[in-house]
C-alpha cells in the first residue's frame, strides 16, 4: 500500500504539531529529509525511539524545521505498518511545510479516516469496530465535501478549468493524429509546436502555485502592516505580538534577519509584519513616505492593523487612514485605554464600518487576547471543522499542483529529448488528470466526489 501522511494534531495554537506517516516508505521517505544528531539513518536505528534533528528540503538543500522524529516499525504500531511521527513546532506554517515536504517526497495525503481504516484492515482494530470505521469514512467525507464545495467556487477553479481545457485541446490534437493518421483535418503535433504549449502550461502551474492565496499565506504568512499616527502605540503593538507569540520560523529563504524576527504566529495564523523596521525608526510610516506611497504599501498587505489613540481626539490623519484601508481586511485597535478617554467611539464605529474594533491598553497588557481572537477569526471564518478542512484542502491543492509541476517538467524534458509525442503525452495527460483532481473533474462524470473524499483529517 501507498505511504500516507497527515497532520495528526488539531490545527491551530498547539505548541507542538505532529505529522504522521504510515506505510512501507514511511522510514525511507523520512530518511531522505531528516538528518539527526547521531548521523545515522533512521532505518539503521532501533524501533520505538525518538530522534532529534533537522528536516531538509532535498531540492533546495535548506533546513526546513527543527524536529523530533519518532520511528515505530510495524507491526507494533497503530496501523501495524511502519509509522513515523514528526514532531515540529505548532502553528500552520511549520506543520504545513513539513507535510508538504513529505508529500513532495513520496507520501500521499491520507484520505478521511484512512489511518483507522488501515489499522482495521491490518487486523489491529477489533472486529466490532468495522461499522464505526465505515461511518467515520462517510461522515468525514461528507463534512469535508461541504466545506470544499464552498471553497472551490472562485478563481482557482476557474483558472484550473481554463488550463485543463487548453491542455485537453492539445491532447485531443495528439489523439487525432494517432487514431486517424491519414486524416488531414488536424495539423500534426510536432515537438516544435508542442514546446511553447508545455512551457505555457508550466508557467501557468507555477503561477497557480504562487498566487494560490491561501497557499501563499501558509508559505509566507499574512503580510501585515501596522498603521497609525505617531505615538498611538505601534511599537508597543509590535513588541506585544512578538513577545506573546514566539517567532516560529528561523529560516525563510531570501528574507533578512530583521524580517525573521517579525514573523509571528498568532493562534495558528502566521503573520509577517511588514516594514516594521520603518515603524521603529520613524514611528510613522505615513509621515515618512507620504499618503500616496503609504497607500501603495497598504495595498500589498493582507491584513492592516489600524491603531488609534484612545486618549486623543480623532484627527484628519486618522480619517485619511480609514479612507486608505477601505475594502481591505482591517482590524481597528483603539489603544491606551489606561489613559482618560478623548476619542469619539461612535465616530470610530462609523468610520470602521464592518471592520472589527478592539480596545487595548498595550501598556497594561489589556485587550491583547481579544486582538488575537480577532485576527484568528478573520483568517478562520467558520467553525473549527471548517478550519481543519480548509487547511487540508489547501494542502491538497498544493500537493497536487506540485505533482502537476513535476509531470509537466517531465513532459518538457521529453520534448527536449525528442521523445515521441505520444509518449510525451503520457505526462501531459497526467498533468490534466492531476489538475482535474484539484477541482474534482476527471474523465468520469462523477469524479467531483473523488476530490472531496480525498480530504484528510488524519485521525
Amino acid at each position: 500500500m501507498d505511504t500516507i501522511a497527515a497532520i495528526s494534531t488539531p490545527m491551530g495554537e498547539g505548541a507542538i504539531a505532529i505529522v504522521r506517516l504510515s506505510g512501507e516508505e514511511a522510514i525511507p521517505i523520512t530518511d531522505k529529509l531528516f538528518s539527526g544528531v547521531s548521523g545515522k539513518t533512521l532505518a539503521e536505528q532501533g524501533s520505538h525511539r525518538i530522534h532529534y534533528g533537522h528536516l531538509h528540503d532535498p531540492k533546495s538543500g535548506q533546513v526546513v524545521e527543527e524536529v523530533m522524529v519518532s520511528v515505530m516499525k510495524g507491526p507494533k504500531t497503530f496501523t501495524k505498518e511502519d509509522v513515523v511521527e514528526i514532531n515540529c513546532h505548532g502553528g500552520l506554517v511549520s506543520v504545513n511545510r513539513v507535510l508538504q515536504l513529505v508529500l513532495n517526497n513520496g507520501a500521499r495525503l491520507a484520505e478521511p479516516g484512512e489511518f483507522t481504516k488501515r489499522a482495521f484492515l491490518n487486523g489491529r482494530i477489533d472486529l466490532s469496530q468495522a461499522e464505526a470505521v465505515m461511518d467515520l469514512i462517510r461522515a468525514k467525507t461528507d463534512r469535508a465535501m461541504n466545506v470544499a464545495l464552498g471553497q472551490m467556487e472562485g478563481r482557482l477553479s476557474r483558472l484550473i478549468r481554463r488550463l485543463r481545457q487548453e491542455i485537453l485541446e492539445v491532447l485531443a490534437q495528439i489523439e487525432v493524429n494517432i487514431d486517424y493518421p491519414e486524416y488531414d483535418d488536424v495539423e500534426e503535433m510536432t515537438h516544435t509546436l508542442l514546446m511553447p504549449k508545455v512551457n505555457y502550461v508550466k508557467s501557468e502551474i507555477q503561477e497557480l502555485l504562487q498566487t494560490s492565496q491561501q497557499g501563499k499565506i501558509l508559505r509566507e504568512g499574512l503580510s501585515t502592516v501596522i498603521v497609525g499616527r505617531p505615538n498611538v502605540g505601534k511599537s508597543s503593538l509590535l513588541n506585544s505580538l512578538v513577545q506573546e507569540n514566539k517567532a516560529i520560523v528561523t529560516d525563510i529563504p531570501g528574507t533578512t534577519r530583521d524580517v525573521i524576527e517579525e514573523y509571528v504566529n498568532v493562534r495558528g495564523v502566521p503573520l509577517r509584519l511588514l516594514d516594521t523596521a520603518g515603524i521603529r525608526e520613524t514611528e510613522d510610516i505615513v509621515e515618512r513616505i507620504g499618503v500616496e506611497r503609504s497607500r501603495q504599501v497598504l495595498k500589498e498587505a493582507d491584513l492592516i492593523l489600524l491603531v488609534l489613540n484612545y486618549s486623543d481626539k480623532l484627527t484628519k490623519e486618522d480619517e485619511n487612514l480609514f479612507e486608505a484601508v477601505k475594502g481591505m481586511d482591517t482590524i481597528v485597535i483603539v489603544n491606551k485605554t489606561d489613559l482618560p478617554q478623548q476619542i469619539d467611539l461612535e465616530k470610530v464605529k462609523q468610520l470602521a464600518k464592518d471592520h472589527k474594533i478592539v480596545t487595548t491598553s498595550l501598556l497594561e497588557d489589556q485587550g491583547v487576547n481579544e486582538l488575537e481572537e480577532a485576527i484568528s477569526s478573520l483568517f478562520f471564518t467558520g467553525s473549527v471543522e471548517a478550519k481543519d478542512a480548509s487547511y487540508v484542502s489547501n494542502s491538497r491543492h498544493i500537493a497536487l499542483l506540485n505533482q502537476s509541476l513535476q509531470a509537466i517538467e517531465d513532459a518538457i524534458s521529453g520534448v527536449e529529448m525528442g521523445t515521441p509525442i505520444d509518449i510525451v503525452q503520457i505526462d501531459l495527460t497526467r498533468v490534466w488528470e492531476l489538475l482535474g483532481e484539484i477541482i474534482g473533474d476527471s474523465v468520469q462524470d462523477s469524479l467531483i466526489n473523488q476530490l472531496f473524499s480525498q480530504f484528510c483529517l488524519g485521525k
Binding site: 500500500m1 501507498d2 484520505e111 478521511p112 479516516g113 484512512e114 481504516k117 482495521f120 484492515l121 487486523g123 472486529l127 468495522a130 461499522e131 470505521v133 465505515m134 461511518d135 469514512i137 462517510r138 467525507t141 489523439e175 493524429n177 494517432i178 487514431d179 486517424y180 493518421p181 491519414e182 486524416y183 488531414d184 483535418d185 529529448m417 525528442g418 521523445t419 515521441p420 509525442i421 505520444d422 509518449i423 503520457i426 468520469q444 462524470d445 462523477s446 469524479l447 466526489n449 473523488q450 472531496f452 473524499s453 480525498q454
Partner: protein
C-alpha cells in the same frame, strides 16, 4: 413447424461474422465440440463495410488475437491486397498495421479454415429461439425446427437483430447487404429479460473501378517492406494494389445541403444512435460546414472484382442523390455506383448485462460477442469473439474462465469498458481508451499473451517453444547491452556519436545507456557493439523499444502494480449492497446494476467514488474476518 432433435454439442455459436468465426474456432481449439450456425453460408466473415483490417488500436487487437491463437491475423495475411504500417513517425506504442483485404478471398479463406477445423461443424440455419431452463441456456432452435442442444451458447449476430436498411425515404427490414434479418431472436431476447438498445451504422456506395479516372487522384501504395499481422506468417504477398485519395468539394457540399431534407438522419426517420467517430458525409458537411473539402479514399474490394469502396462517403441519402453526389468528386465524374450506400439500424444488448467473461448476467451459459454488444468494427468483434469462444468452451469443459485485464490487452480494455461503463453509441476502440498504451504495443502482443494462449491450449507446443526462445534472446541481448561498457578511448564509438550529432563520451558508458540517447538506434549501436550473431529485425526492434523507453514503461508498470491489489480484491457475486449502510445511494444503484467482480472494477464505475470504495473494502474485510471467526 415440426421440431426435431438435431444434435448435441459442447458449444453452439450463432453467427459466422468476425466475432462468430473467432468464437467458433477458439471454442473448438480449447477442445469443445462446437457447432456454428449462420443464416447464409456465403456470408462467412463478410465485410459489409471497409474492405480493411487493422489500424490504430484495432491493428493491435488483431495481433493480440494472433498471440492468443486466433485466426484473423493469419486470414488477412493470406488475403491482403495492400499492407501498411501506420504512425511510423510516432512512438512504438501507437504503431499499427492496416491491411486492405481482398474481400472475397478473405471470406473464402476463413470459410475453408472453419470447414477444416477439427471439432467444428459449420451449418446454415436461422436460430429463432434459445432453449433456456431455469435461467440456464441449453441450446437453440432454428426456423426449420432443428433442436441443437449444448452446454453453452454464443450469440454473434452483428447488425442482423431486427436490422433495417435506410436509403433516403426508403426503409426496409434487412440485415447488412440485403441479407435476411433476424427478427424472432431479438424478440426472444427481450422476452428473456434482456434490455436492448437501437444503434445505427452506415456504409458508402461502391463504384465500378473502370469508371474511375485515377489520374485525378493521388496514389496511396502499400509499404515495400514486407509486413504481417501474425507472428507465424513467413510468406508475404508482394504484389500489392494501391488505394487512391481524392476529395469532396463545394459542389459536393452544396448538393448535400440542397438534399438534406431527404436525408433520413435529418428527417427523423433514423432513431438509432450512430457513432460520432464515423459520421456520414452529410453529418460531416453539416457539422463542419467551414471545411472546404473532405478526404475520400478509393479502396479496391479485391483482385477479382472492379468494385471500389468509396471511404469517406458513407451516406443514407436517396439513391438518386448518391449518383449525383459521387460524380461531384474529382476522378469520379463518370463513376457508376454498383451498390448504393445505406444506413442500418439494429438491436444491441446493453453490455452492462454481461460478466467480464462475456457470459450474460440474465441467462447463464449464454455469451454474446461483437456488434450485438454495442461495438463497431471487425477487430472489436473478433476480439470479443475469441474471448467469448474461449470462455464458452472452457465453461462447457468445466474449466476456469479467462479474463484479460486492462493492462494485458486492448481486448481487456474493450471488454472492461463495455461491461463496466456501457456505451451510448457503437463503441470503437481508440488508443486513448487504454491507460497503459505504452504497455499494449503492436510489437509486444506476443510477449503479453502467448503464455496465456498456450495455457488454454490455443497455442501449440512448437510455436510456444519458439516464443520462449525469442523471449530468452531478448533478455540475453538486453543483458549484454547492460554489461557492455563503451569507452571514450574507442574511436569508432566517438566517431559514431559525432556522426549522429551527439556529444562525445567523456567517461565510459553502458551500451544500454547509450541506446537511450534520443538520436541513437539499435542498428547504429550494433556497428560498435555487435552481438556474436546478429539478431532478427523483430528482436532488434524489441530490444531497442524495451531499453529506450524503459523509464516510461517502468512508470506504467508501477501504476499497474498499484492497481493490482484492488484487482485482486474480489467481490462475492452474492453481495448485498443494501446491507452496507455507508454507501451513497447512487453508488448502491450502480453497484447493484453492474455487479463488479473486483474492487478495481467497482472503482471504474462512474458514480462510485473513492469513499464508497473505502467503505466497500472495509465491509469485505469485515466479512472475511467474520467468516474466519465463525469457522
Amino acid at each position: 413447424m415440426q421440431q426435431y432433435e438435431a444434435g448435441n454439442y459442447d458449444v453452439i455459436v450463432i453467427g459466422a461474422g468476425h466475432a462468430g468465426c473467432e468464437a467458433g474456432l477458439a471454442s473448438a481449439r480449447v477442445g469443445a465440440s462446437t457447432l456454428m450456425i449462420t443464416i447464409n453460408l456465403d456470408m462467412v466473415a463478410f465485410m459489409p463495410c471497409n474492405p480493411s483490417v487493422g489500424g490504430p488500436a484495432k491493428g493491435i487487437v488483431v495481433r493480440e488475437i494472433d498471440a492468443l491463437g486466433g485466426q484473423m491475423a493469419k486470414n488477412i495475411d493470406k488475403t491482403y491486397i495492400q499492407m501498411r504500417m501506420l504512425n511510423t513517425g510516432k512512438g512504438p506504442a501507437v504503431r499499427a498495421l492496416r491491411a486492405q483485404a481482398d474481400k472475397n478471398e478473405y471470406q473464402h479463406e476463413m470459410k475453408r479454415t472453419l470447414e477444416e477445423e477439427q471439432n467444428l461443424t459449420l451449418i446454415q440455419g436461422m436460430v429463432e429461439e434459445l432453449i433456456v431452463e431455469d435461467g440456464v441456456c441449453k441450446g437453440v432452435i432454428t426456423k426449420t425446427g432443428a433442436i441443437y442442444r449444448s452446454k453453452t451458447v454464443v450469440i454473434t449476430t452483428g447488425t442482423f437483430l431486427r436490422g433495417e436498411i435506410i436509403i433516403g425515404e426508403l426503409k426496409y427490414s434487412s440485415g447488412p447487404n440485403n441479407q435476411q434479418p433476424s427478427i424472432k431472436l431479438s424478440e426472444h431476447l427481450e422476452q428473456l429479460g434482456f434490455e436492448l438498445v437501437r444503434f445505427k451504422t452506415g456504409t458508402p456506395p461502391r463504384v465500378n473501378g473502370k469508371t474511375i479516372d485515377y489520374s485525378k487522384t493521388e496514389i496511396q501504395p502499400g509499404d515495400e517492406e514486407p509486413r504481417a499481422f501474425s507472428y507465424e506468417t513467413t510468406k508475404f504477398i508482394t504484389d500489392q494494389l494501391p488505394c487512391w485519395l481524392t476529395y469532396t468539394n463545394e459542389h459536393t457540399h452544396r448538393l448535400i445541403d440542397q438534399n438534406l431534407h431527404r436525408s433520413p438522419m435529418y428527417s427523423g426517420m433514423i432513431k438509432g444512435t450512430g457513432p460520432r467517430y464515423c459520421p456520414s458525409i452529410e453529418d460531416k458537411v453539416v457539422r463542419f460546414n467551414d471545411k472546404p473539402r473532405h478526404q475520400i479514399f478509393l479502396e479496391p474490394e479485391g483482385r477479382n472484382t472492379k468494385e471500389v469502396y468509396v471511404q469517406g462517403l458513407s451516406t443514407s441519402l436517396p439513391e438518386d442523390v448518391q449518383h449525383d453526389l459521387v460524380r461531384t468528386v474529382a476522378g469520379l465524374e463518370k463513376a457508376e455506383i454498383m451498390r448504393p450506400g445505406y444506413a442500418i439500424e439494429y438491436d444491441a444488448i446493453v453490455p452492462t448485462q454481461l460478466w467480464p467473461t462475456l457470459e450474460t448476467k440474465v441467462v447463464k451459459n449464454l455469451y454474446t460477442a461483437g456488434q450485438i454488444n454495442g461495438t463497431s468494427g471487425y477487430e472489436e468483434a473478433a476480439g470479443q469473439g475469441i474471448m467469448a469462444g474461449i470462455n464458452a468452451g472452457l465453461n462447457a469443459l468445466g474449466k476456469e474462465s479467462l479474463v484479460l485485464s486492462r493492462s494485458e490487452a486492448y481486448i481487456g480494455v474493450l471488454i472492461d469498458d463495455l461491461i463496466t461503463k456501457g456505451t451510448n453509441e457503437p463503441y470503437r476502440l481508440l488508443t486513448s481508451r487504454a491507460e497503459y498504451r505504452l504497455l499494449l504495443r503492436h510489437d509486444n502482443a506476443d510477449l503479453r499473451l502467448t503464455e496465456i494462449g498456450h495455457k488454454i491450449g490455443l497455442i501449440g507446443e512448437e510455436r510456444y517453444q519458439a516464443f520462449l526462445a525469442k523471449k530468452e534472446a531478448i533478455e540475453a541481448e538486453k543483458e549484454r547491452l547492460r554489461s557492455t561498457i563503451l569507452k571514450p578511448s574507442d574511436k569508432n564509438v566517438q566517431e559514431l556519436i559525432r556522426n549522429i550529432g551527439g556529444s562525445e563520451l567523456k567517461d565510459g558508458i553502458r551500451a544500454s545507456d547509450l541506446l537511450k540517447r534520443p538520436e541513437m538506434t539499435y542498428e547504429l549501436l550494433e556497428t560498435v557493439a555487435s552481438p556474436e550473431t546478429p539478431l532478427d529485425v523483430e528482436l532488434k526492434e524489441q530490444v531497442e523499444i524495451q531499453i529506450k523507453y524503459e523509464g516510461y514503461i517502468d512508470k506504467s508498470l508501477q501504476q499497474v502494480e498499484r492497481l493490482k491489489k484492488m484487482e485482486d480484491k474480489k467481490i462475492p457475486e452474492n453481495i448485498d449492497y443494501d446491507a452496507i449502510s455507508g454507501l451513497a445511494t447512487e453508488a448502491k444503484q450502480k453497484l447493484k446494476l453492474i455487479r463488479p467482480l473486483s474492487l478495481a472494477q467497482a472503482s471504474r464505475i462512474s458514480g462510485v467514488n473513492p469513499a464508497d470504495i473505502s467503505i466497500l473494502l472495509v465491509y469485505l474485510e469485515h466479512g472475511r474476518i467474520a467468516k474466519i471467526a465463525n469457522e
